[in-house]
Structure formats: C-alpha cells, structure tokens
C-alpha cells in the first residue's frame, strides 16, 4: 500500500506552490522596476497579470482541500498540506501587494518616489521572499530562522524611511501656502508611505512562509507567534 499517486500529488503540490511563488516574485520584480524607472507599461503588465495569479492560487487551494478530503494526510504529510495551504495565501497576498506597488508607479510622479533607500528595501524584501520560497521547496529549517531575523532589519529600515519622509514633508512644505501645492505634497508623501508599508508587508509574508516552512519541516511553531 505505497499510495504512489498520493505521494505524486504531494510532490506536485510542492512544485506548483513553488512555481506560483516564482511567478509572484517576477511580478514583484517588475513592480519594483516600474517604480524605480517610472515605467507605466511594465506597471500595467503587473496589474493585468494578477488575475492569472489569483486563478492559480484558487486552483492550488482546491488541490489542498482535495488532498485533505480524499487522502486524509497525517504526520509530516498533514503538516505539509496545511502549511502549503497557508503559504499559498501569503504568496497570493504578495501578488496583491505587487499590484499595489505597480499602481503607485502609475499614479505617482517618479521623482516623489525616487528614494534609493526605498529600492534597497524593495530588493531586500524581494530577496527575503525568494529565500523563504527556496526554504519551503527544499525543507530548509535553518534558513527559516535566518529569514525571520532579516525581517527585523527590514522593519527598522522601513521605520527610518517613513520618519525621514514625514520629516522632509514638515521641513520642506511647512511654509507652503498654495493649497494645490500642499495637496500635491500630501499625495506624494502618502504614496511613498504606502509604498514603504507594502514593502514591509511583502517581507512579513515572506516571514510567514518561513514560519510555516519551519512548522512543516520540524513541527516547530516558534516563528508563528
């Protein structure tokens, strides 16, 4: 009773989740590029691509439900299916955040967002998610702990960037009297702050992926809290 088809279905789920993760990372990559280089066409491509990500997410979620209902996985198989189910949600949310970032690239004047630190944060968040997905695919528990630590650094960089943006606003625009100018400044600052927030969230979802991966490989819930 080796249940070959069942084992093959588990492997297929692992491969498909990782593939969806890769495609979402590509979406994120294009968004960051669009932000940095103010490329509207690339940003539009990201927004259009989100529907396909959502469809595949729903298909893989259904595959997890089928595995649970039809195969009743237990032990490490159960942890794998349940973790994959949760990780899928994180991947899909990263896809949504990539879409948000693409939206900021379209709606904001490129200069407003041209902050080198921001692109560095974006790259760090992207790499964190990439490493979390690699840990999931290979079952690397040690990597999960390192990923969680890296998120602390991203969080403080986001915090510092937000403070600087607000400080700049106060310093540069405090004396502004033209209401249109004030309005434009507020829009720009809002977009930058939302960008920072979304990049931070991208990294948070990467940590969630690492946390679920640690649970599935070691039955260790340490990073879930």
């Amino acid at each position: 009773m080796a249940r070959h088809e069942y084992q093959a279905a588990l492997e297929e789920l692992r491969t498909d989740v990782a593939a969806l993760g890769d495609d979402v990372l590509a979406q994120l990559d294009r968004s960051l590029h669009a932000l940095e280089h103010d490329e509207t066409a690339a940003a539009n491509g990201v927004i259009e691509g989100d529907a396909e990500i959502n469809d595949r997410y729903l298909e893989l979620e259904a595959a997890c439900i089928d595995l649970i209902a039809l195969q009743q996985p237990v032990a490490s198989d159960l942890r794998f299916v349940v973790a994959s189910f949760k990780i899928l949600t994180d991947i899909e949310r990263i896809g949504d955040l990539a879409t948000n970032l693409a939206g900021y690239a379209i709606g904001t004047d490129g200069e407003a967002i041209a902050d080198v630190t921001l692109f560095e944060i974006g790259a760090a968040a992207h790499d964190l998610v990439e490493d979390a997905l690699a840990a999931y695919e290979t079952g690397d528990a040690d990597a999960c702990h390192r990923i969680a630590e890296r998120d602390d650094e991203i969080d403080s960089r986001c915090h510092r960037a937000s403070e600087r943006v607000v400080r700049d606003l106060i310093e540069q625009e405090a004396g502004a009297v033209d209401p249109w100018e004030v309005e434009a400044a507020i829009d720009d600052v809002s977009s930058v702050l939302l960008t920072i927030r979304d990049l931070e969230r991208v990294a948070d979802h990467g940590v969630n992926i690492a946390a679920r991966t640690l649970y599935l490989t070691e039955n260790d819930p340490a990073l879930l809290y």
């Binding site: 009773m1 084992q7 032990a75 490490s76 159960l78 942890r79």
Partner: protein
C-alpha cells in the same frame, strides 16, 4: 469454563489459533530462553520499512490522573514466534487508548493479554506483568471469571447469543447469580425481575441501543442489523459492570453509519469506562482515541503518546512511514 460466558470467543478467533484449549496462562521466567533478535537492529522488517532502533522516549506518555492498567516488560511467544517484545505501557483510567499497527504486529495479542484471553491458547507463553489497579492479573490467586467481568471484551464480528435481546443482556448477571427470577425466587420473595428490567434498560441505553429495541426486547437478537448486534454485545459487556472494555476492531465489519454510532458510543463510554481498542482504521484511531500506541513489525511497541502528537508529529520514522501509508 464459566469465563467464556462473559467473553465468548468468536468462531473466527478460534479458527485463527489452532489447538485452542485452556492453558495455564503465563509461564515462569526462564533464564536464557528469550530468543535473540535478528541482526543488529534486531527486527525483520516489512518491505519498505526503514531500519531504526526504537527509543525509550518515544514510548513515554505522561497523562493526568492514574493508570488503571500498567504493563511491564510483557513478552509473548506463540511457540517459537516471539509475538510481543518487552512491552511496557501505562493506560489511563476513563479514556480511549487506540492500538494500531500493520497485520501481525502483535496489537491483538497485546489486547488479549489484558484480560488473559491468551490463556486459552495452549501454545501462548506470557512473561512480564499486567497490573490492574495495582494487582497483577497473572498472579495465581486471580479469579478469571471476576477478572473478565471487570475487563470485558468486544470482538470484531458481533456475536450475540441466539436468544432474545433481553436475554443477551441479562444472561451473564443471571449466570453470575446477580439476578434471580422465576418461580422459586418468587416464592422466596427474591424475585429480581424488576431490577433485571432496569439493568437491561440501563445497559441498552448506555450502549445507545434502547430507543431502537425498547418495543421488541423479546425478539431474537440475530434479527438485529450488524451495527445493532455490535451495540448489543457492548450492552452485554456492560451488564456485568466492567471497568475496562477491550475492543478488537469493533467496527471493521460495519457500514459507515453503524461505525459512526459505535465511535460515538465509545466516546460516551469513556466518561465512565476505560476503553482499549485495536483498529486497522487509522482515521478511526485518530478520531476517537486520547492516546495511541503504535506496534510495528516484530511485536514492538515503537511509539505511545497523545493521539494528536502521534498523528501530527510522530517521533519514529517508521511510525511516520506507517501512518502516512508508505508501508503496511
């Protein structure tokens, strides 16, 4: 052989063990008679099973409350076949303990040791101790009839007597003299018909069968469905006031609805009784038990722990492979 009335062996069970007769149960410990295990790892394994050396910590299950059964260093041989090896386990009171493992791993043998059903197998040799409330059930002075009243058994195939539903439940109490009825007791003012009716109703209610049979207690029990017959057997077991109920795959011959009723019943019984159940259905073990003991090839108890732990994160690689269906 009065003990066989409270825990009758099924035909299938008798077939499975040739040469059945009343033996003298456990033999004494004889130095140097324990067969050496095979190879370094010690076990001939089922195809596909990993080799590993079981660790003591995998069998350590801590629980609140007291143990009603304590098994220490139990070994069983059927002739030269070493069916159980060094089994030590504490079973908590008023809970459900599931015994799982592939065919031939010794789980049914273990169950039968808990109320000395193996005494009935001439070739069976039992060493070690099984303590019930601190008393070794293999001690010479133990009254087997009394033991099997306190530790009842329900078998895979429902095996009601070819008598009325009422008689099935009341049979053992009558035979044990707990209930008297008829002309003589009536003349002597000791007629227990009323208390028998109460007992029959209580046991049938406890076995979740009363509502289905209340208006036909004098019908032949063989007219009941398989699931009803099995619940009647549980009611019959309850009639002698046991503390522990041993169940050997009690639902494997039943359809899913009847199985669900038995599972629900086991859950309710565990409020007042201690249930030890052998099952081949791992989902059933996961659904109904508080703790699970996993026996693997060679008659070893490899892992014993809270059911959630065993099914979510087994310590043993072989247990992991068994419960995920990679062998067995």
């Amino acid at each position: 052989m009065t003990e066989s009335r409270t825990t009758p062996a099924t035909a299938g069970e008798a077939d499975a063990q040739s040469g059945e007769s009343i033996g003298d149960g456990r033999t004494g410990r004889v130095e140097g008679t324990t067969p050496e295990p095979v190879g370094d790892d010690g076990r001939e394994t089922t195809a596909g099973e990993s080799a590993e050396r079981p660790r003591e910590t995998w069998r350590e299950h801590t629980f609140e409350g007291e143990a009603i059964l304590s098994v220490d260093d139990l070994n069983v041989w059927y002739g030269d076949d070493h069916a159980l090896r060094d089994i030590s386990i504490d079973i908590p009171r008023e809970s459900v303990t599931a015994l799982i493992g592939p065919s031939g791993c010794g789980k049914s043998t273990f169950l039968r040791c808990l109320n000395r059903m193996n005494d009935r197998i001439r070739a069976a040799r039992v060493e070690g101790t099984v303590s019930y409330d601190g008393q070794d059930i293999y001690a010479d002075e133990v009254d087997l009839v009394e033991l099997r009243k306190r530790i009842g058994m329900v078998f895979q195939q429902p095996n009601p007597f070819p008598k009325s539903i009422r008689d099935n439940v009341a049979y053992a109490p009558r035979k044990h003299g707990d209930i008297e009825r008829g002309l003589l007791p009536k003349l002597l003012g000791r007629d227990d018909t009323d208390s028998e009716d109460e007992l029959v109703e209580r046991c049938l209610r406890d076995a979740a069968l009363w509502d289905e049979v209340a208006d036909r207690l004098d019908d032949n029990a063989l007219g009941l469905s398989g699931g009803q017959q099995q619940r009647l057997c549980i009611a019959r077991c309850l009639a002698v006031d046991p503390e522990i109920i041993l169940m050997d795959e009690p639902a494997s011959a039943l359809d899913p609805i009847a199985t669900a009723k038995i599972e629900e019943l086991i859950d309710e019984l565990a409020e007042d009784y201690t249930v030890v159940i052998v099952t081949h259905n791992m989902q059933q073990a996961a659904r109904i038990s508080d703790q699970t003991a996993v026996f693997l090839t060679g008659g070893e108890l490899v892992e014993y722990g809270a059911t959630e732990q065993v099914f979510e994160n087994p310590q043993s690689q072989r247990v992991e492979e068994y419960i995920t269906g990679k062998f067995g």
